[in-house]
């Protein structure tokens, strides 16, 4: 019987993988559901003896089985998109079944946890620090420093919280990892718990990811004995983007409104229920088993550039021909990612802009595509890496509309606690509208005789632009968290690089 491997990742399912699997079963094949290789333009991808066929539909089944399919892509592992990557966190992608303990152990699973238990918490903290691992959620804070802070903090109860509230558009690495290799995340959390002395962990996952929720819950049942006495609960979010912010997430876990907390106190000292808490992103925790395996920390530290060590699972999204997951060392450029690896836009039109780091990331102009992928290099260019999502836009994109959307999104998702974000985002939309309509006349209220201090003259477009820039500066400096603080990035970058879209001359 022919063995056929088809992914059961949510993306493959959305592209019709279940119907395809049923068609192969009807044709007498043994179908094995595995994780996704991350070549999304080829999903649903069929694998038979290492050879790939995609994107496949049920109509292709006969041709694939008779070896005459025009959708053959050759050996999958040798495909340039896969062969060019350095997969550490996603080493198992496409190769194993998500909920198979046997597959996990066969591919080096639990080696990191076993070694961590052998060498003891102090050495685990040393190795995580030595690896140079930084938080993959966006802020890039050194994981070793955070863990050590929690380990040294006084308190009988400590927690490990995994931030799986992956709300940024253009990112899907957390989802792929939780659906494809949930045991690796659990192993990473167990190592963190061992290192800092925590007995309880939580995975806070967004409600938009029902498949990942199910896979994680099933995976936790499978390995409860292995991670014991550590226990992990899966908690489901409720559609609030801001709960991806760590303090808001903690409030949500406590059963409160997902409002941001002021820092200090740091969650590492007073986090969940006021106890010392490690809050790390999925990708940060999932990188840990590799680091704790024999020689892993040195190997991790040897990759990357400057202070950005190791690999980053980069997500190629939006209008890109070859979209998917591309894990590689830091230092790669957007030119390489978009044109050499991604094959340019899916629409075949020229690339106009690229947003890196989700809805709060700057829009980069093709003239900036040679910046190396590195936390510091991006910060120097007024941009951010964020969670490593890259959304490509072709020349039909209206950058003023996207800038307005950034403000609109901030207004819709603001937790409401701080004024720059809550009010600034609404005012930002209004100012962009006024820029687009070329300035404005004094309104009815301003013309009332009582309003003798109000200005009666028309506000020019240039004055509105200046007002927007001032508003953005205030939001950036005075917001409590990254939602209000980073919304100016897409707005200001769009204004700076594409003034014509705002109806402005070259500035």
């Amino acid at each position: 019987m022919t063995a056929v491997r088809i992914s059961d990742d949510a993306l493959a399912l959305a592209c019709g993988a279940d119907a395809l699997a049923a068609a192969f079963e009807a044709a007498g094949c043994a179908v094995e559901r595995v994780s996704s290789w991350g070549m999304h333009w080829l999903e649903p991808l069929v694998e038979i003896d290492g050879m790939g066929f995609g994107p496949a539909t049920p109509e292709d089944v006969d041709a694939i089985l008779s070896g005459k399919s025009a959708k053959a892509i050759g050996p999958i592992a040798a495909h340039p998109f896969i062969a060019g990557q350095q997969r550490l966190t996603f080493a198992r992608a496409g190769r194993t079944r998500a909920l198979s303990l046997e597959d996990y152990e066969r591919t080096g699973g639990w080696a990191g946890l076993e070694r961590a238990r052998r060498i003891g918490p102090e050495h685990v903290l040393d190795e995580v620090a030595r690896s140079g691992l930084r938080g993959r959620g966006g802020a890039g804070f050194p994981a070793g420093v955070k863990w050590r802070t929690v380990a040294q903090a006084p308190g009988a109860r400590k927690f490990i919280v995994c931030n799986a509230d992956e709300g940024d558009s253009g990112t899907f690495a957390d989802r792929m990892l939780m659906e494809g290799d949930p045991l690796q995340l659990i192993e990473g959390m167990a190592i963190a718990a061992h290192a800092v002395g925590a007995a309880q962990g939580y995975i806070y996952i967004r409600s938009e990811y029902p498949h990942a929720i199910r896979k994680l819950r099933d995976a936790l049942k499978l390995c409860a004995d292995i991670i014991a006495p550590f226990t992990i609960d899966v908690r489901v979010g409720a559609g609030a983007y801001v709960c991806g912010e760590e303090t808001s997430l903690l409030n949500s876990l406590e059963g409160k409104r997902g409002e941001v907390r002021a820092k200090p106190p740091l969650p590492a000292l007073q986090g969940l229920f006021g106890c010392p808490t490690v809050v790390n992103n999925v990708l940060t925790l999932a990188a840990v088993p590799h680091i704790l395996a024999e020689g892993g920390a040195q190997d991790y530290e040897a990759r990357g550039t400057g202070r950005s060590k190791g690999t980053m699972p980069i997500q190629l999204a939006g209008n890109i021909r070859h979209g998917g997951l591309y894990e590689t060392s830091f230092g790669i450029t957007l030119n390489q990612l978009i044109f050499e690896i991604g094959g340019g836009t899916a629409s075949g039109r020229p690339v106009k802009a690229v947003q890196v780091g989700g809805p709060l990331g700057a829009y980069l102009h093709p003239g900036q595509f040679d910046i190396p992928f590195d936390y510091e290099a991006y910060a120097a260019a007024d941009a951010l890496i964020g969670h490593g999502g890259i959304t490509v836009f072709d020349d039909t994109a209206d950058m003023a509309a996207l800038a307005r959307f950034a403000m609109e999104f901030c207004a819709a998702e603001s937790c409401g606690k701080c004024t720059p974000c809550r009010i600034g985002s609404v005012r930002g939309q209004e100012i962009i509208d006024r820029i687009l309509s070329g300035g404005r006349q004094a309104d009815a209220v301003e013309l009332l005789p009582q309003m003798h201090n109000a200005r009666l003259a028309q506000r020019s477009q240039a004055e509105e632009v200046q007002l927007l820039e001032e508003l953005c500066a205030v939001m950036k400096d005075a917001s409590l968290c990254a939602l209000g603080g980073f919304t100016p990035y897409p707005v200001v970058s769009a204004l700076r690089h594409w003034p014509a879209d705002f109806g402005l001359g070259a500035r």
């Binding site: 949510a10 993306l11 399912l13 959305a14 592209c15 999304h40 333009w41 999903e43 992956e166 709300g167 940024d168 558009s169 253009g170 990112t171 899907f172 957390d174 989802r175 409600s207 938009e208 990811y209 029902p210 498949h211 908690r235 489901v236 979010g237 409720a238 559609g239 609030a240 983007y241 949500s252 876990l253 406590e254 059963g255 409160k256 409104r257 997902g258 409002e259 229920f273 997500q315 190629l316 999204a317 939006g318 209008n319 890109i320 979209g323 998917g324 899916a346 947003q355 989700g358 809805p359 999502g389 959304t391 490509v392 836009f393 072709d394 994109a397 996207l402 959307f405 999104f409 937790c415």
Partner: protein, 141 residues
Amino acid sequence: MTTEAVIAEILAAHPREQSALLPILHDVQAEFGYVDAAAERIIADALNLSRAEVHGVVSFYHDFRSAPDPRPVVQICQAESCKARGIDTLMQAARDAAGERVRLAPVYCLGLCSVGPNARVRDQLHARLDEAQLVSLVKAQ
């Protein structure tokens, strides 16, 4: 069973502490399709919270609704990656197909950003939608 009895059953499945509030609200929302003032009061009593605290949580999160809406829901991703793949040009047709009968809910990202435009109906995901496919998806509800 009465509403009170159903909620009591849900409450019995969770610890009586505030940290269980979101899981409880998810269960109530899944059971009834909304969390109204009466439900808030029962939950508040059980968790030793004020109704204002419970209402504050219900009204904060997009997933919880305070009133019933019997219409079927199609969630359509409206975030940047789906915009880059042209979702905005499909929305008018989707709205026309939905009319008053189907509720179109924006969702900010389903995590399928390389194969948009995307939509979700219950736990079914749909990718690579063109206008005809989106319209027939809406009409099929």
